[in-house]
Symmetry: D2
Subunit: 415 residues, 4 copies
């Protein structure tokens, strides 16, 4: 038994180091200046991501379980608290880019110290409670790995020099397979986490929903498809848009997805590989809910509900095991493809608690529940999601105007 | 048959005149100045409501069905268009209070002319299409009657003199009955309009939903209940609030419902009867979704979903046949009370299209569908809703921060 | 002696009634709705002007000098206080248009009551102190008469129907005389009020300034002149503008003076006579300091300083005795014309205290002194200034972006 | 003669290298992260200052005078253009902190390349035009050296860790000498640059002004003096403030100078030496014009005009030859002290062109003239001004609400 625990503890520790190392690795192509800047209040500096994910372990595990706990630095508790009112004061979100001290190296030292203390704690106590908290901290850190990439992409895109995160051209895709419709029967379906492996609290409890028969598109909407929408006047026709979306288009003078640019030689797209000619076969990405919804209306379709999406993914036994780069790939398969690993897929479902949902007690309960208002659920995962992080019941969520995530469109239809 | 149509036409015309007269009657206690002012962009002047409801009949009926149609005034098409992009230009919403011309009398003349032309049209053509459009126009006008009252209440409340709309004290209520819980079985339920009588497009199609067993509170949350929440520090405890709600409380420095005031002699409440001592037994009203949700969490309960609410109302065979004044009344009954005629009840349901929902073709299709985003559904009706206007399937909706409607709280619980 | 005082008191009373009557007369072409609306925070409703000018007499004279003073209405002290912190609370400036009560008639009753009480007070005490305060109150009311006209013009211009304040066409002017330059010698000049007749505190003390030789344009810049500036790209050439002015042009997308409109049939101008074809010979008006300064630079000239302007006016013995209508007139004279009665003339002088300036003690000292910052002085008077109100030493002042006054351009040059 | 030119050229080159080296030296205590961040739109990153001052030499000298000029980097022309519309596009001011590329080292390389090209150019052509432009570029760079220090101070003050620029305590000063008044005769005085040595265009032409007799305070207002103002309720008494200043105090909830903090152990002040106990004898600094004006009114005095200040400095033969640290020093002298080297001194003079002022032709003419609106003149120099940079005719200027410069108060009185 002791041996088993030791082995579990060892695997957990391996996972712990792997995830922690990957975060630091993501910063490697960047300068210290790149890691400190904040391009908008919604985005955070890379250095802040590296510090906050360590703060999570320090605050929710070490502070509670380490005998004679002393903070690594007394100011960090406030400085790297993202949104946990239960923990106390928080630094102003919009001013994260002004935290030039602690330095990048001091944050790496913070990470190193937290790693050692977690390892030492785990050696002493590899019980279920600490294990579960460490698993949560790792899943949390993986979420920040995705944000780190989308935030740094946003920063680099604000620089007129348009620097690349990875200096390597994106290969152009072959032919784009036609979009096909796959039908699913309706009835009472079960959605939510089924109890195997890790899941966030917002995926529970598993529960029943009644779903009418529907069809799902075989692939994501591609750049070429979306270009047809633009060329057909999609951004100028009020009848295609939700009222709030139409105001948003007007106030911001929008005419195309976030990172698209129209030049003399046609359309290009800013990517983590720098500016690249627009590839008609790759999925369109960095769209708001408003744009996804307007496109679907134009295409005589609609967005799926999250129950439809999850039911389809589960009935097809799909898992997030897709290899990924730094940009969504074109599909080459048949059947329902691109559920995972390319673009998050906007659903028409407002982010709401499942029937019977109860957040954890204390500050950790602020993780998900308090955001269940005025946001929409995205399903699947993206090229920036760490491999293996997502699953069929996974619920991502963003406000309807958010565009800086790798968000795309999966069409649905009622049968 | 011709006789039947004539009788139907006559009843429709009677209804038409009744509704049209009531709108003008609502303006009677007000001066022309009162009728012209606009207290915030969300609210409209009384005069604008009187004009816009006539515009609706002129634009959607006369313009399409009157031979040799000529507009009453060429500028009115733009001036009194609320939000129909399909009709063309609209006057700036926030500047409705600057439209001192046309004068109040000119707007009455506009109403009169439209009334006569509708009557003449109906004499010539009492067919189903025109009949349905007139019914829609009347329901539309009833919605504006409610807005007229809540908008003018907001205006009067901004005046330091706190003038009353009706100069007559509100009687204080007797004892408040204790709040009881009534249980409902779960299972597949049908919600949506069942086809009898008028309904808006957003109530269709009728469809199935799966509902878990739940309980509903026997009455609305009363002022006395809500006062306990305030005195328990409800507005100062982040743990009770949605994240966006907590920001909203902080930015606006909120400590109580919209029209409450704390003075040396205790709490009072601004009503359409002027400033009145707070009545502990009457329902708390003018709450945002954020406040309703926070109160429910504090009370160890939750808001109902719209499916739960409708299922309960329908299984109890409740209809909107309650007499009303200008302020929500205290309850005196037993069982589920106050479903209709006191306060709209926030549900936890985001305003979304029912499965298979399809808006009407053309500009009239902008009536409801384009607002199905970032709003929450309220069910029931309020003291300001015209008697008989609402029903079990009726869906009202407002953004989560809106407080100037007669919105209140019906608690629910999972069983 | 007693008789003399009686006669002085009588003349003062005559003046008092004349000014008071004129204010009410200005509201005659307007409806009660017109008189209640507020088109922007900088402007006030007509009804507010009528009430505030009465408040001035009540607060600064009756309250201090009437035995057993009782306020006309206890809330008016706050409601109609414009900006006197020394008096106490003030109603929010941007919400003056929401004061639908007191009604227009109640404000007229307020005026009437104040008039009677002032007359009764004057009968008892026609001493110098009260006489001086009444004179100040009348000059104050005349300033508000001008604001009343420019504020109502702004309101009517916001209405798509473009209603006229006076329903009567503006005659088109004859030929425009060429602009000539008249030279003035430099040296030490005296500026400021010379002690004869009424003057505001900001015109004192009279003092010496050193002025270099300069020339002044014989007439105001005319619409035709300004059109040439526009057609030469004046609004698109950054080199002509102050930095802050260039930002202001860009943010607001400006291309012409406030009330100009370009249509298919050429340029027109909204006036108190309604929309009129642009008259090339009339003075250009409703310009900001930024526009006046940019035009002067384009014309290879500059704006005069206030010392230059006053020195010129005084050495030519010019007084404000020009007949006026509701719009600036074209000039027909020779020599320096249009100093008074057409458009206020922006000077390059920042509004600052004269050496030794000391405001009055108490709240009345807030009249002028506290505004001596970030504003520019305008000299002369306009068509909306009551006849006889202005003089050579008169100092009007507005922020550099203000355009809704009858402001124009008098060019100057260094010799 | 050739030898003389060579020597002149050599001295210029020595000066050039000295100034250029000093800029880089100022960045030495800072990390690359510190040098990249921007704390507010008014402030710029240190790296931007280093790049922009090089851009000035490249754009105004190399581009015009270097044969076969090729830009160091084609994007820098836009990226490091501060406000010269005549040069073309400019990067958005508020986004300077997002320019993580070019890196700090690349900017140093840019500086080095410009230095070498300027030296080479000077070797070929040491004529008057290039010499004058280089002198202008060096004076420009010295201005940015001061901004670099005040901008980085602002950034460090935004960091909750309050890091010091220089890690060394500030010695507390001895006794504060009493404030004395020194009288100056009035009459016609000459102000403006007298032709010897370098001056900016805004100091010309030298011209006459008439000045009344006045007295100037012997020293700057000290922290101890200002504390008495605060303790007397200075920030709560509307009667002391300009109207716009009172609004500014209210909206921002101000109660003390920018970098003061009140803690349990009394007042402290954030300085470039980190947080220090407030030294009563040192000059109060980081005040807005509004605060300086309010303090003067409270002290029964006023701010000097710029003519008074310059006349006094010149008649006392004062020059900017004071040794300085990184914070204003307490005075120890007698007579008029602290004119230079401690705090800039707000004058009551709006920043305006001198009679006959003409900016240079072309983009370089945008240096000063276009800012002559809604700003106030400060005279003297501060501890952050490079030694020898300022002079009696020097005109610094900032908007009335600016506080992040080393601005203080010199009182004046009319005699």
């Amino acid at each position: 038994m002791a041996e088993l625990i030791e082995r579990v503890g060892t695997r957990l520790l391996d996972d712990f180091y792997a995830v922690r190392r990957r975060s630091v690795g993501l910063a490697e192509p960047l300068s210290e200046e790149d890691c400190c800047a904040q391009s908008m209040p919604d985005a955070s500096p890379v250095k802040w991501h590296l510090a906050h994910t360590s703060w999570f372990f320090e605050t929710f595990i070490l502070e509670r379980h380490e005998p004679d706990f002393r903070p690594h630095h007394p100011a960090f508790r406030m400085l790297f608290n993202s949104y946990y009112n239960g923990i106390g004061d928080k630094h102003v979100r919009a001013q994260r880019g002004l935290i030039t001290r602690p330095s990048f190296d001091e944050v790496l030292a913070y990470r190193h110290a937290v790693d050692e203390r977690i390892a030492a704690l785990l050696e002493r106590d590899s019980g279920a409670e600490i294990g579960a908290l460490i698993r949560l901290g790792l899943q949390h850190e993986q979420q920040h790995q995705e944000l780190l990439l989308t935030d740094v992409k946003h920063l680099l895109a604000m620089n007129p020099l348009l620097p690349a995160y990875r200096d390597e051209a994106l290969p152009h895709a072959r032919q784009l397979p036609p979009l096909e419709w796959l039908a699913f029967e309706g009835g009472i379906v079960e959605i939510g986490h089924d109890g195997g492996g890790f899941a966030f609290d917002n995926e529970s409890p598993r529960h029943r929903q009644f779903v009418e028969p529907f069809a799902l598109a075989s692939r994501l909407v591609a750049n070429g498809d979306y270009l047809a929408f633009i060329e057909d006047g999609g951004y100028r026709d009020a009848a295609l848009w939700l009222s709030e979306g139409w105001d948003w288009v007007g106030v911001n003078g929008l005419q195309h997805p976030l990172y698209w640019r129209q030049g003399e030689e046609g359309w290009s797209e800013f990517t983590l590989h720098g500016l690249q000619p627009l590839d008609a076969a790759r999925p369109v990405t960095h769209l708001s809910y408003f744009e996804a919804d307007a496109y679907a209306r134009w295409a005589d379709a609609r967005l799926p509900t999250e129950a439809e999406w999850e039911h389809a993914a589960r009935s097809l036994n799909m898992a997030d095991d897709v290899p990924r780069g730094l940009h969504p790939n074109a599909t080459s398969g048949s059947g329902i493809t691109q559920l995972f690993g390319d673009c998050w897929q906007w659903t028409s479902s407002s982010y709401a608690p499942y029937p019977g949902f109860a957040p954890a007690a204390g500050a950790i309960g602020e993780y998900n529940g308090k955001f269940m208002c005025n946001q929409y659920v995205l399903r699947g995962s993206s090229c920036a999601t760490p491999a293996g992080h997502a699953r069929a019941s996974y619920r991502n969520f963003f406000p309807s105007s958010a565009r800086w995530q790798f968000s795309g469109i999966r069409l649905a239809r009622s049968c």
